[in-house]
């Protein structure tokens, strides 16, 4: 159990899908291995565990999303087992959003024998949904990419890669890859696209604005989607979004539903640790040179993320379809229960 906490602290995970997968597996283990009598107790356990793992890596919002999602699943299963109709559980949803306190009267302490098996089944279903998310997103590619279009993307996102490759099966189009210094993951993406026979061009980050005028669509991945529809995406995404807006190029964002989170950018405030992730300056300027006499007093930063405001995003494509950023609040209210907003 603690191993997962340590891994989180030391950033031993490979991308947000991997992190989400590890988190849900961890929580499934908690559900199956800890002792609990009724739904309320289980939810308390999950909440306590959730607080810890969220605090271990506060800038990875996916962890909190999964915890809230699991809580919601437990609530749903509990209500379903009680035999109440779906309608009654959902009836006041819009009203509840503004008055979360009133709803608290619900009792989750009834003993239900089958709860454990059904919850675990539901969690397994959710895991399957997660596993299929990339496939579901890329299945929509044909609707968005047309023949002979010029698509610009930034860095490397597995979802974008699958999306473009799926489209390439039917259509012929051109991809411009922004290399994404200092990690240069764009190079890897270009290699992988070219191997599938997609016409690919690599440009430097500084050439984004110059090249934008000939682009038809910008498609990027994202680290997470904030509650207002804004993005926490790879460094340079804001620059891409601004250039696209200036040239009136639509910006399409791909991301699975588990990337949707309840936070607003203002909640995070000035604390760099919770929003951004500052990696070692090594990739920007090697330690070999950075310590030499001439460089004394020079500060080197290597932030990983950018915030993209919602007004620059045209469309958000998730595994359940495309939505405008202004619709995020609605999706969120479906995904998470209002009582779980604060763990």
């Amino acid at each position: 159990m603690e191993q997962f906490l340590l891994d989180l602290k030391q950033e031993k995970f490979n991308g947000s899908y991997d992190l989400a997968y590890k988190t849900i597996n961890h929580l499934r283990k908690v559900i199956s291995q800890t002792r609990w009598a009724h739904a309320q107790e289980l939810m308390n356990t999950i909440r306590k565990e959730g607080k810890q793992i969220v605090a271990a890596q506060p800038s990875e919002y996916v962890v909190g999303n999964i915890v809230r999602r699991v809580l919601k699943i437990i609530r749903e299963e509990y209500v379903r087992l009680l035999g109440e109709s779906e309608e009654s559980a959902n009836k006041e949803s819009l009203h509840q959003m503004f008055t979360p306190g009133d709803y608290d009267g619900e009792d989750h302490t009834k003993l239900l024998k089958e709860l454990k098996t059904t919850v675990i089944e539901a969690v397994n279903e959710y895991i399957e949904e997660m596993e299929a998310s990339i496939h579901n997103i890329s299945a929509q590619a044909i609707e968005h990419i047309h023949s002979n279009e010029v698509i610009l993307t930034l860095g490397k996102s597995r979802t974008v890669e699958a999306f473009l490759k799926q489209a390439a099966k039917k259509r012929k189009f051109h991809v411009i890859v922004v290399e994404g210094a200092p990690l240069y993951h764009g190079h890897e993406l270009a290699k992988s696209l070219a191997s599938k026979g997609i016409e690919t061009t690599v440009i430097t980050d500084t050439a984004i604005f110059a090249i934008m005028s000939r682009v038809n669509k910008v498609i990027i991945g994202t680290h997470s989607v904030l509650a207002n529809g804004g993005l926490k995406a790879v460094n340079g995404a804001h620059m891409v979004a601004l250039a696209a807006a200036h040239h009136a190029v639509p910006l399409i964002v791909l991301g699975a539903m588990f990337k949707l989170c309840l936070l607003h950018h203002s909640d995070i405030g000035g604390s760099e640790a919770t929003f951004n992730r500052l990696a070692s300056p090594q990739e920007v300027l090697g330690y070999y040179d950075a310590g030499s006499e001439e460089m004394t007093g020079v500060q080197i930063y290597n932030p990983t993320f950018d915030y993209v405001p919602p007004e620059l995003v045209t469309l958000f494509i998730s595994n359940i379809g495309g939505n405008a950023p202004s619709y995020m609040y609605r999706l969120l209210s479906e995904l998470y229960h209002p009582d779980d907003h604060v763990l």
């Binding site: 191993q3 340590l6 950033e11 607080k51 070692s280 300056p281 330690y287 070999y288 030499s292 500060q299």
Partner: protein
């Protein structure tokens, strides 16, 4: 199925990676701060130093770590027992081995050998490493080499590149390596001593078959090495090896006999540094705050035992990172108008008053800093109190220190545990204050004399503590100012200092890499210098005694030859030493110039058989005559009678005619009071006579 199961454990056994962490420095660089606390428990960015090392090893996949603790071992043991490493869920087992009898790295490895802890390759890591390296590659390289050749590759040193003027380089760890370019085999390893500016490389390393040699001055030894199980045995066999450096030197010298080889792994991209003096403490702390050691940065560390964390809320109490690498603990408080500027860290529960300015500093847990303080580039550990209107720059303040109002602490000061200073005093740059009057020598004895009253004069009316070694230190005659002695020099500073000294001496020496000319026995230039002087002393003594007691030349030859082998001297050294010693004896005996030659002649006459013995060959004779010249250049009486000495030696067949003529026509660049031309003028007539004699000889023929 059953077969498979049986096989599995054996495979696993081989792949388990184990490490020895040497949690003692065996030196006193941090003394007197280390009087009550081992170096490896120093807080670096508010985490014990050893926690970085253990964390690093566990990330590298080390499964079993043996921590060898010696000084204050009980504290190390207690730390490990309470940390997460003692937990059931810990990714690796940490065993603390305590022994106060260990006095060096060599002792530790001898102990390892006695217990035969390791049957496969293992790591030796100093307990003060901060790193985010992945040792997997160096291990793989090491294993691949071992696979190819079972015994020869002995160990792999892990080195990190850094530019020659890098701030993390210190004068104490200034190395030059000769590597084989294709295999990364270490051919020569030279560590500069304080005043050296030359390196001698043995010629043999350049003569290997088809080898391409790299000379590198851009490496820092991380102290980490991958060792094969033979390494502890070697330490046992050679009981005089104290450090890893001794082993490396020993192995390289004996490479031909024993066939052991040492390789280097050069890390180019990841971070790795050691904390071994105040300067490196400063550099490493700064690097951690600048996030070079990512992911080991303050907001990522869990060091509290997990049990406590679960019951309490310590997970929520962590550092938050603000712009410009400022880290504030969630529970610390900052007063009105106080600012924390770049690369600073404020610990748990610390209160800071109004209008303070803190920059480039680390403040520990539960400290209290009053109003209007200015703190720059300083390290304040836990539970200290700083009064109002204090100014602290580039200093080191340990646990529980009380600095009263209006104190100014200048650069390079160290205030040890529980000291009180102030109010309203001005501490000189480089002052060290300790609570007891420990002198430099009684490191081991526990007698603390507390009879003398506190140094109130220097420390203020409420001062509690003594200025430590402050005044004696300056008498030790080193050129570096006391601050530098205490803190250790960065190489940049050191080079400047050395440059200044060179300028003073009309600096004629070149900086680096002058190759030793041709003597293959010169495997070890550093020791040689010392050995040469002792050898010269011994030869002179025996020659002196030889005259007084009228000892037979044959016996003296035996005596000198045995010294020659004892100090590993070449024939050339012996010839030079003998010639020089004879002249020195003569000079010592007479101050009167008129009688000088007669004295010299008497001595030479006594030793003609000995000289004949050593000057059988032309080359030896040449060495002899050049030594004569060199000596004459600095001594007027010798110069004046040089002709007579040459004549006498010629007549007694010590020097042949060809040698003298060759010497005359090929002046070497020798420096002294007189010039080589003067010498040639003095001997002109003798040379002419020799040449005539030769012509006559040829005419006769």
């Amino acid at each position: 199925m059953s077969n498979k199961r049986k096989k599995e454990p054996t495979i696993k056994q081989e792949n388990i990676l184990e490490a020895v962490v040497i949690a003692d420095s065996f030196n006193k660089r941090f003394y007197p701060v280390t009087a009550e606390r081992p170096r490896c428990l120093f807080p670096v960015a508010n985490q014990p130093l050893i926690s970085y090392t253990l964390e690093f090893l566990s990330i590298c996949g080390v499964k079993h770590i043996y921590v060898y603790a010696c000084h204050c071992y009980d504290q190390v043991k207690r730390y490990v027992q309470q940390s997460k490493w003692a937990n059931a869920g810990s990714p690796c087992t940490v065993t603390v081995v305590c022994s106060q009898s260990l006095t060096s790295v060599g002792d530790v490895l001898r102990e390892v050998d006695q217990k035969t802890l390791f049957k496969t390759d293992f790591l030796v890591v100093p307990g003060d490493v901060v790193s985010n390296m992945q040792l997997a590659t160096s291990l793989k390289e090491h294993r691949a080499r071992r696979e190819k050749d079972k015994n020869a590759p002995l160990m792999t040193l892990v080195l990190r590149t850094s530019s020659p003027t890098h701030r993390s380089r210190t004068a104490e760890d200034d190395i030059v390596l000769a590597l084989d370019q294709s295999t990364n085999r270490v051919l020569h390893y030279h560590r500069f001593l304080k005043t050296q500016s030359k390196v001698n490389f043995p010629l043999s390393i350049f003569q290997g078959p088809g080898s391409r040699v790299e000379l590198r001055y851009d490496l820092i030894d991380t102290g980490i090495s991958v060792c094969s199980p033979q390494v502890p045995q070697l330490f046992t066999d050679n009981f005089d090896y104290q450090t890893q450096y001794d082993l490396v030197k020993g192995v390289l010298i004996n490479e031909e006999f024993l066939g052991n080889q040492i390789h280097a792994h050069i890390e180019k991209s990841r971070y790795c540094s050691r904390v071994y003096n105040f300067h490196s403490y400063d550099v490493v702390s700064h690097d951690i705050l600048s996030r070079w050691s990512h992911p080991f940065v303050p907001e990522n560390t869990i060091d509290e035992p997990i049990e406590n964390c679960k019951s309490g809320d310590c997970f929520f109490e962590s550092y938050s990172l603000l712009r410009h690498n400022v880290y504030l603990h969630n529970t610390c408080t900052l007063g009105q108008n106080s600012v924390v500027l770049d690369c600073s860290l404020i610990g748990r529960g610390t209160r800071i008053g109004k209008r303070c300015k803190i920059s480039n500093s680390v403040v520990g847990n539960n400290c209290h800093i009053h109003d209007d303080c200015i703190i720059d580039g300083s390290y304040i550990w836990d539970n200290s109190t700083i009064g109002s209107n204090c100014k602290i720059s580039k200093s080191f303040i340990c646990d529980g220190v009380q600095v009263h109002d209006g104190v100014i602490v200048h650069q390079g000061s160290v205030l040890c545990d529980m000291v009180h200073v102030g109010p309203k005093v001005d501490l000189d740059s480089g002052s060290v204050v300790h609570l007891s009057t420990l002198s430099n020598d009684d490191f081991d004895s526990d007698e603390l004399q507390e009879t003398r009253p506190y140094d109130i004069g220097e420390l203020g009316d409420e001062g509690r503590g003594y200025l430590w070694g402050g005044h004696e230190g300056s008498e030790s005659g080193s050129d570096a100012p006391l601050v530098m002695q205490m803190w250790g020099l960065s190489l940049q500073e050191h080079n400047k200092l050395k440059q200044d000294q060179l300028d003073d001496h009309d600096g004629s020496e070149s900086e680096l890499s002058s190759l030793a000319s041709g003597d293959e026995e010169n495997n070890d230039p550093i020791i040689l210098d010392d050995d040469l002087s002792t050898f010269q002393k011994e030869v002179k003594e025996s020659l002196c005694g030889g005259i007084e007691e009228n000892i037979q030349c044959d016996n003296l030859v035996l005596e000198i030859n045995s010294s020659k082998y004892a100090y590993n001297m070449s024939v050339k050294d012996v010839v030079q030493t003998v010639t020089r010693s004879l002249l020195e004896i003569a000079t010592d005996r007479t101050s009167n110039n008129a009688h000088y030659f007669s004295t010299v002649k008497k001595i030479l006459a006594h030793y003609i058989p000995l000289l004949l013995n050593y000057n059988k060959h032309g080359s030896s004779q040449l060495d002899c005559i050049y030594t004569l010249e060199e000596f004459a250049l600095n001594s007027e009486p010798t110069l004046n009678c040089l002709v007579k000495i040459l004549m006498y030696l010629y007549e007694s067949d010590v020097l042949s005619e060809e040698v003298i003529l060759h010497w005359n026509s090929n002046p070497r660049k020798l420096t002294g009071i007189f010039s080589t031309e003067e010498v040639r003028n003095k001997v002109e007539k003798f040379i002419e006579w020799l040449e005539e004699a030769e012509e006559e000889d040829s005419d006769d023929a």
